[in-house]
Amino acid sequence: MFHRLLIANRGEVAVRIARACRDLGVSPIGIASKADLDASWVEAMDEVVAIGPPAASQSYLNATAIVQAARQTHSSAIHPGWGFLSENQRFASLVRQHGIAFCGPSAAAMRTMGVKSSAKRAMDRAGLDVLPGSDGPLPNVEAAAACGNEIGYPVLLKADYGGGGRGMRLCHSEAELREAFGSARAEAESAFGSGAIYLERYLTGGRHIEVQVLCDSYGKGVHLGERECSIQRKHQKLIEESPSPVLSAEEREAIGERAIEASLAIGYTSAGTIEFLRDDDGKLYFMEMNTRLQVEHPVTELVTGIDIAKKQIEIAANRPLGLDQADVRFEGSAIECRINAEDPTQDFRPSPGRLKAFAFEASDGPGQLRVDTHLRAGDEVTPHYDSLLAKVIAYAPTRPAAIETLRSALSNAKVEGVHTTIPLHLAVLESEEFQRGDYDTRSIPGWTGKAN
């Protein structure tokens, strides 16, 4: 095992990985930008390297400075966390080039999965269902129109190197497609440095279901079941749960098996997540693969009892997985709410500031509560980085009990000094649709835009 591991990230995920390091007897080494040097989360580290000015481009995205920091602190591994450089194959290569282990998959796997059309092709070949669409990027508007007419409208234009909805256009007819093609391409070019655009059938509604996989470097892998993340706003997940209320036990087993087979087929190692969209008929279409630890991993940890962050470090240290699929058991129900410093009544305007109070008291609900956070009362929520304050996760034997635990925890939460998304979460948890498990990616059940 490693003696020292550098965490190339900040905030909540840095604290989470530091905890996994402690459990394994590894010394966690942190990096912090100038804006974070006095933050309380750096106390979770044994040593901290000041990495650069507040701007992420000069600190948490500065690959050379981070690898140098690992070298001069004698760290033999780097964990990238999520966001920042976590899915950057050039960073993964640079790290390994300097003899440092990278807690993630091979650069080749990251590359295949990082370009959308190549990921889709690889997963199609590996046996997953994909939405009908163009085979790779479209050379021109005529090819786009021909492809659109063949698969039928509505269709979605997507940027090959894209993310976050940029370069994406929904087209209901050939006329709309012809009009949108040029601007989608220009937007992709300016946002991602590549104007490659592909097209696929647009699925109205649908549910976002993702499968967690873990693969070691000896060709062995297991799946840890699914998470449902259909409650989203502008492609940002708000609430995640496991198990999904719509999947039957047979469906769960079937999609898990196909996900792990596909991952092993591309030679995947480390933790990864395959995201699917489920249509009304129950068919699951491959959307994309995230080649890193995910924000919502705790719900899976609670229902399986497996520590994913720890497994990632062990896999990077070339330890065998030590798990068979039969060892993975799913018990109970876990639901996570992401609490952001945003004002949901003001169109989710970011709300940085100093936390006057910040406490989630032990819930009086029927289940257990897990709170993953890097903050405490008195801390400053800086405007420089993302607005995640905490993840509050409830675990109980049944879904209604988990909902009740979470509802009670959030209504007793004391957060003062910044606006938070807690009112939105309470509205969802109290809505009948959510309690029935009847929701999809289109709307946020129970939320009217106003706090109750």
Partner: protein
């Protein structure tokens, strides 16, 4: 050729603080008591195989009152304090400033000077004769010695321009064999032919 990177500048309680602009290993620190001015090289930062000459930023002049790090190749982060400077008083003699000011100030000494900080060597390897000695003639491109930075040795060639004529004769070797030198320090004193 070394890349140049400006030190970070901050004024604290009337003292000027210069700190590291990046993450890396810091060497060739300027010693306590020496004077630093704008544009001067003040140590070297090695960051993942790239060597940066650290340069004193605009508007700075002062005497180093801090002590250099104890460790050779000291690991530093962004903003690690490297030098604390106290302001110069008028009592400072022009002489002291002359060799460090760009262009040589009043310096009447005609010399080949260090293009950046490093270690100056007279001979290509121990036991071999020096590259130049007193009385040698120097012309465009004649090697005068070696400069070592981070274990990399570069030949230093005579180049005319500024006060230096096309041809010159070596008067004496100012910097000793293996001496640490700073940017602008005289290495080899010469006279015009």
């Amino acid at each position: 050729m070394l890349r140049r990177m400006e030190l970070l500048l901050e004024e604290v309680d009337g003292k000027t603080q210069l700190s590291s602009p990046g993450v890396g290993l810091f060497t060739l620190a300027v010693e306590t008591g020496r004077v630093l001015t704008t544009g001067m090289g003040a140590g070297v930062l090695d960051s993942l195989g790239t060597t940066y000459q650290l340069v004193v930023p605009e508007g700075v002049i002062g005497r180093v009152v801090s002590t250099p790090p104890v460790r050779l190749r000291a690991p530093v982060g962004y903003g690690t304090l490297l030098y604390e400077l106290e302001p110069l008083t008028t009592a400072v003699m022009q002489d002291e400033l002359a060799p460090v000011l760009p262009g040589g100030g009043k310096s009447s000494v005609l010399a080949v000077r260090a293009p950046h900080s490093g270690r100056f060597w007279h001979r290509p390897a121990p036991g071999e004769p020096p590259i130049v000695k007193e009385g040698d003639l120097l012309g465009e491109g004649t090697a005068v010695g070696l400069i070592e930075v981070m274990k990399t040795f570069t030949h230093l060639h005579y180049a005319s321009g500024g006060p230096l004529p096309n041809k010159a004769r070596v008067v004496r070797l100012v910097a000793g064999d293996g001496d640490e030198v700073l940017e602008g320090d005289p290495l080899v004193e010469v006279e015009p032919l």
